[in-house]
Symmetry: C2
């Protein structure tokens, strides 16, 4: 007899809400690595009940049909279940079911960024009141450990900024547009065919998914939460191959970045495309990968990269949280969350945020337009960093980069430029990550 | 009156062993960020006693002279001190002082890689017996949170490999040799002048420092500790600009890598220069920066990068551990370390480790030498991946890369080649990170 089998391990019984992509990954890790996890943690993790919509549906993962139920109370109110894992996604019924589980004094692990970004403060408060844990590492950047380090290893660090690439779909699209000089629509269609983008891609391409992750990152980095509506959000739908090519000539790549930065007057919190210098660590994050930079007063700049999504990476993050919650449960140490969701942040209006800008304008031939652009910028105290005049057969383009200026001032300059008859139209305005 | 000042915070009194570079960084963070830390943690961190060698010495950091002592018992046995921070470096007296502090039931935070790599198991055991914590995040890769994520966020992950660039001095030297086509001796002298390399640089350039960090990483990644003597260790002293240039032509950069990898028969644990493909994430880690890759069964490949040394980044890692140890202290939850140092690993002998190899040979003119190289490799079942013949005025060089082969077999082939009269000498043998 194998000696290990004789040791009676404490059982941790898990209720799973959902058995989709991430849920199946969690189930696979818990069952295929059950013995490994037992050796590593001294705990025996047992999936006990799994909420599904359809009991008869064929599944990619082999699950004991006796575990499946369509009745959520069989999970969230089951007397034997110690931990509840929510991988349904969306706000409802996830919110109500998590609340019910917390009220039944069960610690909850969730991968649900939409829910935590919008109801994190309320659910955190409920978990605190009930003396149980609410963990959500998998809600940001899939398998990359980022919320854990922010709360633990960096607990003594005065964090100044958290920013990076947190949406794999848009990074895949921008990478393909860059490397293959293809249009947004063309690459989006391919990404949809490959399953990297949803049939309705809005949440990803309009930046909403990145904004949700940013709200969660900001809450844990700055011990303040932000109202999701206060996060400025601009997607990649209008990015043109021409601008990617011009950016490349200037030594930049175009990325969708999410930025949270502590300022004296409040918090910057914004998601938008940005020109990233080719030598910058974020420029090397390609395809569906994610990369997050943490800047701290003492530690300087840290970069965390890895798979930002996917069944097994996201499942790994959920299981990491399951192990942590189980250890707290066994030690009688549940319900000691950080400060993350206590105070609400003042988010700076976008007009107050400083950026440098890339601009592409269609102008009348001749030197008048250039002179006007230079004059309007200079009158507003904005420096011209680079200027390229591009004469085609039918049109003249000005491509320029400005010095750093408050967005409000820059937008006033832009209105003045648009009112000039020599300036036919503004074809692109993209912020730069660094001047 | 500021409302915050009225709240009576729990005080955590800290004893510091050492006030050198890292110690001064810790002191600066604790004092310059005292109010910030109090708001963030609800605890008031107070440096209480600091062990120094010379009370009268002038210091870069302004310290209340009343805190300084030359008597270690004033720190490790002080009845009011809750946590002891060891930043002396070296094995003794650090080991004895840490043991005394643990025996006095004080949790200990150390940045001492040499000590943990050699006496980690013994000190871990003592901490466990005494029911206190022993934390050492700062001992590996300065400010980069890596030991924390390995123990917490990745607690549910079956980790297959941990590898990367963990020594800033050698990475600075190799980066300068690569970018400026300079010799090892030349760049080393410059690094010494700039303070990036010690007067006696052996610990860094011979790979010992990286081996110590690898031993600690392996202990936490695989829940097994390794005997430092079992870690294969080869430094950068013999790396020639010629090989850096040839590697570059082939699409590689030369880096000093530390690799720990779980295999069925045991653990690979080794430090040596390696050819890293130019597109590999580690190729982009330049200068004094560190980069560590964690490969897990479910999570795939994660990369952690940042400053691998320096006063403030290393100080930040120490303070992160101080906060964690203080939280455990306040919660009455000390002395629950992971499994890291319980079992001893079987480290595979280097002959059993598989690599592909870069080789530079000086040969007699004519085709005989090439034929012999090809025959010996092929008889041993080794494929030739690339072959370049480089004819100079006075000598003919063969530059080649092999397929993956066990080191023992490759070394036999190398002996056969060295015995051939057509092959004048072997000028370089460098392992490749990936075939």
């Amino acid at each position: 007899v194998d000696r290990e089998e004789k040791i009676v391990l404490q059982e941790i019984k898990i209720g799973l809400l959902g058995l989709g992509t991430v849920g199946s990954g969690v189930y696979r890790i818990l069952t295929e690595r059950q013995k490994f996890l037992a050796q590593k943690t001294g705990l025996n993790f047992i999936p006990k009940r799994i909420l599904v919509r359809d009991l008869g549906r064929k599944r990619a993962v082999a699950v004991d049909p006796g575990l499946l139920t369509t009745d959520p109370t069989q999970v969230v109110a089951h007397p034997e279940i110690d931990l509840v894992v929510e991988v349904l996604g969306g706000v409802e019924p996830a919110r109500s079911l998590i609340a019910a589980a917390l009220q039944a004094k069960k610690s909850v692990i969730t991968a649900n960024k939409e829910l935590i970004a919008t109801h994190g403060a309320q659910l955190y408060q409920l978990a605190r009141e009930q003396g149980v844990d609410l963990f959500f590492e998998a809600s940001v950047a899939g398998g990359i450990p980022i919320l854990g380090p922010l709360q633990h290893s960096l607990a003594g660090e005065d964090i100044e900024a958290v920013y990076g690439i947190v949406n794999g779909t848009t990074n895949y699209i921008l990478t393909a547009m860059t490397e293959q000089a293809r249009s947004y629509a063309d690459v989006l269609a391919e990404a949809q065919a490959l399953g990297y983008a949803e049939a309705d891609p809005t949440a990803d391409v309009a930046g909403h998914d990145a904004a949700r992750k940013l709200a969660i990152l900001a809450a844990l980095a700055f011990d303040q939460y932000v109202d999701l509506d206060d996060v400025y959000c601009e997607g990649i739908e209008k990015i043109k191959p021409a601008d990617i090519a011009f950016a490349s000539q200037l030594g930049y790549v175009v990325k969708l970045v999410a930025i949270a930065r502590k300022k004296a007057a409040g918090l910057e919190a914004r998601v938008h495309p940005a020109l990233v210098p080719a030598g910058h660590p974020l420029a090397g994050i390609k395809g569906v990968f994610n990369g997050i930079i943490v800047e701290g007063w003492a530690v300087g700049s840290l970069l965390f990269t890895g798979a930002g999504a996917g069944q097994m990476p996201t499942g790994s993050a959920v299981v990491g949280d399951i192990v942590a919650a189980a250890k707290n449960y066994v030690a009688g140490q549940r319900g000691k969350p950080g400060l993350g969701f206590v105070k609400k942040s003042r988010v700076l209006p976008m007009e107050e945020v400083e950026n440098s800008y890339y601009l592409r304008l269609q102008v009348e031939a001749g030197t008048m337009a250039v002179a006007k652009v230079v004059r309007h910028l200079s009158e507003a105290g904005v420096e011209l960093k680079t200027l390229e005049i591009c004469k085609g057969n039918e049109q003249v383009d000005l491509i320029l980069k400005t010095s750093t200026v408050k967005e409000g001032i820059f937008m006033q300059v832009l209105s003045l430029l648009q009112a000039e008859r020599d300036i036919k139209q503004v074809d692109a305005v993209i912020r730069c990550l660094v001047e």
